[in-house]
Subunit: 237 residues, 2 copies
DNA sequence: CCGTTGACAGCACGATCGTTCGTGTAGTAA
DNA sequence: TTACTACACGAACGATCGTGCTGTCAACGG
């Protein structure tokens, strides 16, 4: 069991413990997304990683600490998989679309076994006061705000009618993303994403300025390709 | 041949045990909506009802049976609180609006402690195969279909443009309801319902025929009152 | 080369999990 | 009365929960 990697681990200072910790969280985050943060068990997690309960437990001081670490890890993954790619697009409408697209893509690729981690854990903890709930609420708020902010920025660029209520728009776009996650995971039906993408483009077209319409012209051409692709594997998974 | 009296007494006997069973489920359904169907504990439930674990357990034969009974009970409540009231309205656009309104109202009144029972349990069980999951999926499908059916009926009445994709419309309306539930429960913010109602009316206006616009004229007048009322207690709960 | 330290295992704890079983009791049927 | 049934209870099962305490072994600084 004690691997050859002993030599390699000398490279970094805090390696051994931190590496294990990362491995624990990597596994934990996926189990938690499927079984829930409360349903996740320290014993079960230890078994999956071929370690002892106590050895694993020592890395965190309590189950709540473990849960907080898991949520933080999930945020990192979300940032890596959704936020970072989308933020490579130029600001404004283009980035807003990229964000929503990356979000749907992350749900569709099942980056987490149980669908979008934050939707699941938000619902699990919404009537369970404590630090975990607060952290989840904060992160959920951030994502919602990020959507609204980008919509507002698109307004300053003249891509979106300035009379559009961006809070309302963000609510609706976010709703479509959530519904896609819910629909896909309970019905195992990829058409969820077609519906969501259709709805998103529709929402944006409503607040269109000429400048936006030009942008959407390109985008809807791109969308047709996507829709066609999805239609082929309609019943999958 | 069984005598009539025998049947009657049998019914009476059923009534006694059945009454307890109903009381159990009544309490169980609320706990489950907050703690989850898996988080619900037979011992805890028994304590709350001041009965013994074994006495309670005897009414079901396993935890899964209890969970199935809870879901069925939740459906009954949903029908009583949402479906029945809405189905008093005349068919078509009016009933569709009544359904969505009753749904939002049921969420806002916290008929279940943990928000909409079916959204929570769908997400809890979506990666947990078994009878419970199947039942939840079936009931979720029913509600979604009911929305779509009513939209289609509104088309036959000429209230909704016949070119509207009713599956898409149902997806979006359902998404707004779900988002309201999610938003309200994680942020404790009643503005969720304003956003949802605004979105719903907007969605319907998009597919409007002259006949629909006439109907919406009345409805949006009614809505202003609601919105004003809600605004006053914006920060509540 | 020795001593300190950090990462883990082993073991055990009290509590609680779902479940089983034998028993008591109240109410009905004969 | 007697016999039977529906219903609820208490005790106990093995398993597993989260959480401590103690020991061990490898790595590292002096």
């Amino acid at each position: 069991m004690k691997a050859v990697s002993e030599i390699r681990t000398q490279q970094k200072k805090e390696t051994r413990g931190a590496k294990t910790r990362h491995e624990i969280l990597q596994a934990a985050v996926h189990i938690a997304s499927a079984e829930g943060l409360e349903g996740l068990t320290i014993g079960g997690l230890a078994d999956e990683l071929h370690m002892s309960k106590s050895g694993l437990f020592a890395h965190f001081g309590s189950k709540e600490e473990l849960q907080l670490a898991i949520v933080a890890k999930a945020r990192d993954i979300f940032v890596r998989e959704v936020v970072d790619p989308a933020f490579k697009s130029e600001r404004g409408l283009v980035r807003l679309l990229a964000m929503l697209d990356a979000w749907l893509d992350y749900v569709g690729r099942s980056v987490f076994r149980g669908g979008c981690f934050f939707m699941a854990s938000a619902i699990e903890f919404d009537s369970r006061p404590g630090q975990v709930r607060d952290l989840i609420a904060e992160l959920s708020r951030s994502w919602l705000d990020a959507i609204e902010n980008e919509a507002r920025y698109a307004q300053t660029l003249g891509q979106l009618d300035s009379r559009v209520d961006t809070a309302q728009l963000a609510f609706e776009l976010h709703a479509l993303g959530h519904e896609a996650n819910w629909y896909y995971n309970i019905f195992q039906d990829k058409r969820a994403f077609d519906h969501a993408r259709t709805g998103i483009l529709d929402r944006l077209r409503q607040g269109a300025t000429p400048s936006l319409l030009k942008l959407l012209g390109e985008k809807s051409a791109a969308r047709k390709t996507i829709t066609k692709r999805k239609t082929k594997r309609k019943e999958s998974r």
